[in-house]
């Protein structure tokens, strides 16, 4: 495979394109609403009408507006059909010939779509994720070719530093710096790991990226491997995402067949193999050291850092570990240049961020916006606010490690620093909207129960602390607690936060602390008077 072969595949794919393309969302959300039948019916209707030469029915990745699925879009007229059923699907084909489509439509220029800026999701809903040609037709794998043939590994790292990309897994560590550290370590064997263990409840960005554009992640991993000098990669995916796993398997096989993965990529001396590792349902495995233990086939328990994985990771070799979304950004950065990427977003947070919008909101689905977009734009303009005339009470970001942002702080721009200031975190991108019927103490208990179940048991503050905090929250909800218990809860939160071994324990108190900060009255309403009199010291802060 040389560049010419790649361009030929692209030409051939573009030449074979038919006049009208009907794109059917085939991501997990729409699939469970019957998208497969819809696609079959559409194909049948095309054949019945004798339109095979004019119309292509293409299964694509996530088309973002998950709540209205199954979605079908006509490329030529831009009409977007929602909640298509296998019964009314044939009428969409009839509409191409002047008939009337029975399926409902929505405005493809609505704020939900028009305010998005797609980098990571640029191919999502456009290309067929199960055909590598479809990815090559949108300039796929050209960035890898350029990196391998026109850049030294050092240049590749330098470009990444200039782009200002920060890790999309939640902590926001500068990606270029991480690549540089791994590149500098002197070791013959190095590894690249893609963290696709998206365990945060309420987050499904990584699932959608893997289902919609698996080759972008593979290309990103290959570029990273070249930059740091690794020849083996692992993709650690949750077992709960069977569709993503099967699409990745297809993608790896196709890339290997074309010589875009494996040995001697693009006829260079660079070798890179990727293996999939399937998780087995442990939230703690999202933590990098625990994840590496799991890749090694052991119990996923974290270990203290340093040494960081960049120095000593998988089988004690230097290991680069990045999130799915981080890798998905990589090809676009090398295609369009670091300056282009650095021009998007805010001063400290560059580029875009994908959020999974869910909960009590009209439009649920995936959105990608530039960093620094105010939360209000996301939930009110794009999300359409709370359904049935309700009022938004809070937005939860960062899952069980994050916090609740109350409605009066909706003008906060979304970037790493601003969310941190409010006691929440950017997290991987789950955004759950809560309306006035949601009780915040209940939410705090929900997340604490999650952390309690998911604590791996290695360190005591997390193992015992989460149980005690959960008991206290339960006691408050049962209306059996006093001011004293609330003080005890706050003290415990502080202790667990500062003394736990890994991120799970360190952030487990966040949902409780942030709801205490903004909705303290809801806790106090549930308290009982203390029979021993008021608390003397800290309780009544």
């Amino acid at each position: 495979m040389v560049l010419n072969d790649l361009l030929q595949i692209k030409e051939k794919e573009l030449a074979a394109r038919k006049k009208i393309v009907l794109r059917c969302c085939m991501a997990a959300g729409c699939m469970s609403s019957g998208a497969k039948d819809v696609k079959q019916q559409l194909e049948k209707a095309v054949t019945d009408a004798g339109l095979q030469d004019e119309v292509e029915v293409r299964g694509v990745g996530c088309m973002k507006l998950c709540c209205e699925g199954p979605l079908v879009q006509n490329d030529q007229s831009n009409e977007l059909y929602v909640k298509v059923t296998s019964e009314n699907a044939p009428s969409i084909i009839a509409a191409l010939k002047g008939g009337k489509a029975e399926a409902a439509q929505t405005d493809p220029n609505a704020a939900f779509f028009s305010k998005q800026l797609s980098i990571v999701l640029a191919n999502s809903g456009q290309i067929d994720p199960e055909r590598i040609e479809s990815y090559i037709a949108v300039d796929g794998y050209q960035a890898l070719h350029e990196a391998l043939n026109e850049m030294t590994p050092k240049d590749v790292v330098e470009t990444m530093v200039q782009s200002g990309l920060r890790g999309r897994g939640g902590a926001g560590f500068p990606t270029g710096l991480k690549w540089g550290t791994v590149a500098k370590s002197a070791s013959i064997k190095k590894y690249v790991i893609c963290n696709a263990d998206e365990g945060d409840p309420g987050a499904f960005m990584d699932r959608s990226v893997l289902e919609s554009d698996p080759h972008a992640v593979l290309e990103g991993m290959a570029i990273a491997a070249y930059a740091v000098g690794a020849d083996q990669g692992f993709l650690y995916v949750r077992a709960e995402y069977p569709l993503a796993i099967s699409r990745l398997q297809i993608a790896i096989k196709q890339a290997k067949q074309l010589g875009l993965l494996g040995s001697g990529i693009f006829e260079s001396p660079f070798n890179f193999n990727v293996d999939i590792r399937i998780g087995a349902g442990a939230f703690v495995c999202g933590e990098e050291t625990a994840l590496m233990m799991s890749v090694e086939g052991k119990r996923g328990t974290p270990r203290p850092r340093p040494p960081f994985p960049a120095e000593s990771g998988l089988w004690s070799c230097p290991t680069l570990i990045n999130n799915v979304e981080t890798f998905a950004n990589v090809p676009a950065i090398y295609r369009n240049g670091a300056t282009w990427f650095a021009g998007i977003g805010t001063e400290k947070s560059k580029g875009t961020k994908v959020f999974a919008l869910a909960g009590k909101i009209k439009n649920t689905g995936l959105i990608e916006v530039p960093m620094g977009t105010p939360l209000r734009n996301i939930v009110e303009d794009m999300g359409g606010g709370a359904p049935d005339g309700g009022k938004i009470k809070a937005v939860q970001t960062g899952g069980p490690s994050g916090g609740c942002i109350p409605a009066n702080h909706l003008d906060t721009p979304v970037d790493y620093e601003s969310l941190g200031k409010l006691g929440s975190i950017m997290g991987s991108g789950g955004m759950i909207v809560m309306d006035e019927t949601t009780r915040m103490v209940d939410v705090a208990r929900f997340f604490m129960e999650f952390c309690m179940d998911e604590s791996c048991g290695k360190c005591i503050p997390c193992r015992a602390g989460t149980v005690q905090m959960h008991n206290l929250l339960e006691k408050i909800l049962q209306r059996q607690a006093t001011q004293r218990d609330l003080a005890k809860l706050e003290e415990l939160c502080d202790m667990v936060r500062h003394s736990s071994l890994c991120g799970l324990g360190q952030t487990a108190p966040n949902p409780t602390l942030s709801t205490l900060r903004f909705f303290r009255n809801e806790y106090e309403e549930l308290l009982q008077p203390d029979v021993f009199g008021p608390v003397a010291t800290n309780g009544a802060k």
Binding site: A28, G29, M31, S32, S33, C66, C67, G69, E198, G199, D200, P201, G202, A203, F204, R207, A239, E240, Y241, R277, I278, G279, A280, G281, A282, F283, S294, V295, E296, G297, K298, R299, G300, A356, A358, G359, K360, T364, G365, L366, Q396, G399, G430, I432, M434, T438, V443, F446, F447, F450, E454, C456
Partner: protein
């Protein structure tokens, strides 16, 4: 040849007679079941590497439905790993189950989005209908009720997975109806 048999006698010398008897019993059990053969081929595909343990447990659960003691011992013997290590991994991850499941499984997603949209009410309704709690199987062995942390189907919350098929926008009524069909 002589070296190999020497190695084997050394191996058996380190295993106490009681344990050896147990391993023999497991291998005896395995020889009569084709699924063990398939599992061994799968292990061979992974070159009997220790780091493939989780992959192999996935395959074992796929073949047998759950991980019984004999199965874990078989895996530990074939991979040359201590049984404690295999048992430790099998019990650490939520995905693996050591108890047999019912004929049908009903997994209610308890992710945040599903929770705020009423997954707790769905589960309460099922509990009442089937008289079981999450993690349990009905007395007639028909239905197992499980919960998931998040299946990533937040856009169509609350989601329930009936026998591997994700169903969007579940309600307590729709869930009870499905359970009734199965019972």
């Amino acid at each position: 040849m002589g070296e190999t048999s020497g190695y084997q006698s050394h191996m058996s010398a380190t295993i106490s007679p009681g344990k050896q008897k147990k391993i023999d019993a497991v291998l005896q059990h395995a020889s009569g079941d084709k699924r063990f053969k398939i599992l061994e081929v799968h292990m061979k595909k992974h070159l009997f590497k220790h780091d493939a343990l989780i992959e192999i447990l996935h395959k074992a659960q796929e073949l047998f439905g759950f991980l019984e003691d004999d199965l874990l011992l078989f895996i530990s013997h074939k991979l040359k790993l201590p049984p404690s290590r295999v048992y430790g991994v099998a019990t650490f991850y939520h995905f693996f189950t050591l108890k047999p499941q019912g004929e049908h499984t009903c997994v209610v997603c308890m992710g945040t989005a599903c929770y705020v949209k009423g997954a707790d009410k769905v589960i309460a309704a099922i509990e009442q209908q089937a008289k079981i709690k999450p993690g349990e199987t009905t007395a007639n062995n028909k239905v197992s009720l499980l919960t998931a942390r998040c299946i990533g189907a937040c856009g169509i919350a609350p989601a329930v997975v009936y026998d591997g098929t994700v169903t969007p926008r579940a309600t307590p009524e729709s869930a009870v109806e499905q359970i009734k069909k199965w019972m």
